[in-house]
């Protein structure tokens, strides 16, 4: 399949920035003046809408950004509201103390609900979170402390010095403040390191892990964030309505919330807000016909999913694309520029200890022995080739080395440490990086963001910085961008930096994947069939790139079927057949080994008369 040359996007310069600031300022003024034009019922509706907007942003962070199907957002909302209610009415605590405790309680529940995400994903996660949400409603309907089916009335209105929050007009400003902080914080996350990692995990959890993203921690963080937003919304709801009852937190509310996020566009937080506001308004307009409203938004969800998966937020860019296509204006096709070689680092010490030591690794898939007692030593600074017929276990070997598979027996030592069956992200952080046979680029991220994910070595557990030291987060992110630029320029991908990898020609995608693997600054680089699908010139460039990477001090292991490339590039070659190492040596030695010839051509070839060139 040929891909049309990708167009360079119009540069994002200052005029666009200025429009953005103008729109923000206009929105701020409108939000500030809004209550002056509303009657007391309308302001109540607006107050409720703002609460749903905060909930939707939280759900968008978990589902749209981190890809964690979370159908328990309504339970987070409920825990926040009920905890506030119980603490104020039953324990007699003040509103704000209760609010803080309620958010903490919601976070604890968030971690509990998120735990299944460590084991299951997608549909399973959806049903588990839905089940837990049902369990929550079942509990509050039955428990005495939560007032049973009748709910809990009499929650005190929060107090602020000098502001009378019993007025729903003034309550609006409290909510507006919470909403702006919530949305701003969400956007801050999405646009920096943590959000980028989450989006990478959403697009391809396997590749994200292989690049050092701590997938389990990221998943828990996603649920933690969703629960904080749910808890805050719940507290605000309790303070606004002053009464909680089970039906406010039912599955129907959950699905309404889901519809808001999907219709608005789950991958954009602003989209989630737009979805929440518009759906809430439609529901308000149809308040006397709730079933019609439900049929309407259910159908819209189906239509959006099929025809506009990016939701309302994705419409502007779709329209822009459609207009551009119709006009036939494509811009100048982007081109790959030549690779700029690395400077030679000190020549590798020939007596250097092996950087990778595979000892007696066996991998069994039920009846099939994919690897059978494979041992392999790779000294630092070498380019090692791994060849063998299809199905000989080459990729399985890579998967064992990089931690995707746990070997049935045997051990893998990396840089002198036993790293057998460590999680892929641990191996990545220890200095191992890989590419994949079938290209695993993060499809919804730009080329630059793909590289950024790899460069980023910060620990997700340090995300508390987002709260306490936001400036240092920003400063670090700027530094990451500068380094990503260097990698992109070196690999000749400058013109593709802002494009989505899916739209690029195949050869370019291959190069992006290598650039991404190298951006992680590995000590050992594993390349799985890097030349597959490349033309002759591209293969030549590849060989130059790999050699230069090695010269910069990186050990390279490459699986390849292109024998010309293997013979010219690799210093030593390991041959696998049927899951066993059948030969190892320099390319010339290996090519003469009878076992290798037999493995490639079949043993019947031995009986054939030798063809002599006369």
């Amino acid at each position: 399949m040929s891909t049309p040359p990708a167009a360079v996007p119009r540069t994002t310069g200052t005029p666009r920035m200025r429009t953005r600031i103008a729109i923000l300022a206009a929105a701020a003024i409108a939000a500030w003046l809004l209550p002056y034009g509303l009657d007391s019922y309308a302001i109540h509706v607006v107050d409720v809408i703002l609460i749903f907007a905060i909930l939707a942003v939280g759900l968008g962070l978990a589902m749209g950004i981190a890809g964690q199907v979370n159908l328990a957002q309504v339970a987070f909302f409920g825990v926040g509201a009920y905890a506030t209610a119980i603490l104020t009415t039953r324990a007699g605590l003040g509103f704000w103390v209760s609010a803080v405790l309620a958010v903490l309680a919601t976070m604890a529940i968030g971690l509990v609900v998120g735990t299944p995400a460590l084991r299951v994903q997608s549909h399973y996660l959806g049903i588990v979170t839905l089940g837990l949400a049902l369990a929550f409603t079942s509990w509050v309907t039955n428990a005495e402390v939560s007032g049973g089916a009748e709910g809990l009335p009499g929650i005190p209105v929060p107090t602020l010095p000098g502001i009378d929050l019993t007025s729903e007009y003034l309550y609006y400003y409290l909510e507006l403040f919470a909403f702006v902080v919530a949305l701003g914080f969400g956007e801050f996350i999405v646009r920096t390191s943590l959000g980028r990692r989450m989006r990478a995990m959403r697009d391809d959890a396997l590749a994200a892990g292989a690049l050092g993203a701590e997938v389990p921690i990221l998943r828990m963080t996603a649920f933690l964030l969703a629960s904080v937003y749910g808890g805050v919304a719940g507290v605000l709801y309790a303070g606004l309505i002053q009464y909680v009852a089970p039906e406010s937190f039912s599955i129907a509310t959950m699905f309404l919330l889901l519809a808001m996020v999907i219709i608005g566009g789950r991958q954009s937080l602003v989209g989630c807000v737009v979805g929440a506001v518009s759906l809430a308004l439609v529901r308000e307009a149809l308040v006397d016909h709730p079933t019609i409203a439900q049929i309407a938004y259910g159908s819209v969800v189906v239509l959006v999913v099929v025809f506009a998966p990016t939701g309302l937020a994705g419409l502007p860019s779709r329209i822009r694309d459609a207009v551009a296509r119709r006009r036939g204006r494509r811009g100048v096709p982007a081109r790959m520029t030549p690779f700029v070689p690395y400077e030679m680092s000190a020549a590798a010490d020939p007596d250097a200890p092996a950087i990778l030591r595979v000892q007696g690794v066996t991998k069994q898939f039920r009846g099939l022995k994919a690897l059978d007692d494979v041992s392999l030593d790779v000294p630092a600074g070498e380019i090692r080739g791994v060849v063998g017929p299809n199905g000989s276990g080459k990729t399985t070997l890579f998967n064992v080395i990089s931690g995707l598979y746990r070997p049935t027996s045997g051990r893998v030592e990396f840089r002198g440490r036993d790293m057998t069956a460590h999680a892929p992200y641990r191996l990545a952080r220890a200095g191992m990086s890989r590419t994949f046979q079938n290209l695993r680029l993060f499809g919804a991220l730009t080329v630059q963001e793909n590289i950024l994910v790899a460069i980023d070595r910060s620990h997700t557990a340090e995300s508390w910085r987002y709260l306490l030291r936001p400036i240092s987060v920003l400063r670090r992110d700027r530094d990451l961008h500068r380094r990503a630029r260097e990698v992109i320029d070196r690999f000749g991908l400058t013109e593709f930096a802002e494009l989505a990898p899916g739209a690029l020609p195949y050869g370019t995608q291959r190069r992006v994947e290598i650039a991404r693997a190298v951006a992680a600054a590995p000590a050992l680089l594993l390349l799985d069939e890097p030349a597959a699908g490349l033309n002759g010139e591209e293969v030549r460039q590849l060989s130059e790139i790999v050699r230069s990477i090695r010269d910069s001090g990186v050990t390279v292991i490459v699986i390849e079927h292109n024998m010309g490339l293997v013979m010219s590039l690799c210093e030593r070659v390991t041959v696998l057949a049927g899951g066993r190492v059948i030969a190892e040596g320099t390319p010339a030695q290996v090519a003469r080994t009878p076992a290798v010839i037999e493995a490639y051509l079949g043993d019947s070839m031995g009986d054939l008369p030798e063809v002599s060139a006369t």
Binding site: G67, V69, T115, P116, R119, V120, Q121, S122, H123, Y124, G126, I127, V128, L130, G131, L132, L134, A135, S138, W139, T141, N142, L206, I251, A252, F255, L258, A259, I262, T291, I292, Q294, I295, Y297, G298, S299, V300, V301, V302, V305, V306, P309
Partner: protein
């Protein structure tokens, strides 16, 4: 001991219904790797259709059921057809699409039949049997017999007919199936249709056991799903074993925890999924990478 056995008997007939719901989930899942979140709502529709035909139109139960099954089968076809563009492309979007259908069906049920429920009298009026001091309702036996017959028919269809074999092939590898000329879309459509039919069968049978209300399908759906997971998602014997297990678990938790029985069932189910996501008979890994 008497109470223990009586509780098990009470759980088995509901368990058979859960098994039917689980079969519907599993059949669609094994064919296309999708969990149909609207399945529970189709069960509700089936329950209402069967009970309406039986009560209002005064058709005999044996005639009301097949009509309901055909109608919900048609609903299954519609869902599959609308979501077909997403097949094998984005499962998370398809999942949300089925939730969308669930929302619509839920509202339709309320619009057509109202928000209040109805009780359906047992179509088998004979008194309970007495076996060694245990009371067994005759209708429970009917439910078990019909569920068993439906399962056998389904297994025969999958193993003995060309169409069924084609569906098995799609389940194993849809690309290879396409390559040898199997119409994958049609195969998926049939899975959805049978799934819909099974939903009506479950809904129709459960009518006289429980109260038919708009909330019926939600509870049955999630328990049927739990049953499917417990047995191993996509496995037919797994669905049966899982259904009976959840039914019996349900009967015991209802006895011991009263109002909290749902809570306990869901928590048990979550713990099981954490420990063994592939279930008892499951072979396939959870993430079809």
């Amino acid at each position: 001991m008497q109470v223990f056995l009586q509780t098990i008997i009470g759980g088995v007939s509901l368990g058979a219904v859960y098994a039917l719901v689980a079969l519907g989930f599993s059949l669609v899942y094994r064919t296309m790797g999708l969990v149909n979140f609207a399945h529970g709502n189709v069960v509700t529709v089936g329950a209402y259709l069967a009970s309406t035909l039986y009560l209002t139109s005064e058709l005999p139960f044996a005639l009301a059921m097949p009509i309901a099954i055909v109608l919900t089968g048609a609903i299954g076809l519609v869902i599959e057809r609308v979501l077909r563009p997403l097949e094998n492309r984005d499962f998370d979007l398809m999942l949300i699409g089925t939730i969308g259908f669930g929302i619509v069906l839920d509202a339709l049920v309320i619009a057509i039949w109202g928000a209040t429920g109805r009780a359906v009298p047992s179509p088998v009026p004979s008194p309970p049997l007495d076996v060694f001091g245990l009371r067994i309702r005759t209708y429970d036996l009917v439910v078990l017999a019909i569920a068993a017959a439906a399962t056998i028919l389904l297994v025969l269809f999958l193993s003995r007919t060309k169409r069924g074999a084609a569906m098995q092939a799609v389940a194993m590898d849809h690309e290879a199936a396409t390559a040898i000329g199997i119409h994958v879309g049609r195969s998926n459509a049939i899975a959805f249709m049978i799934g819909g039919g099974l939903a009506a069968l479950a809904g129709g049978l459960v009518g006289p056991l429980l109260y038919v209300s708009p909330a019926l399908g939600g509870a049955l759906g999630i328990k049927g799903f739990a049953a499917a997971i417990l047995g191993g998602f996509g496995s037919i014997p797994g669905a049966i074993v899982g259904g009976l297990a959840i039914g019996i678990l349900d009967a015991f938790t209802a006895g011991h925890f009263q109002g909290y029985s749902e809570l306990v069932t869901f928590v048990v189910f979550t713990v099981i999924i954490m420990i063994r996501p592939t279930g008892v008979f499951g072979e396939r890994t959870v993430n079809r990478a």
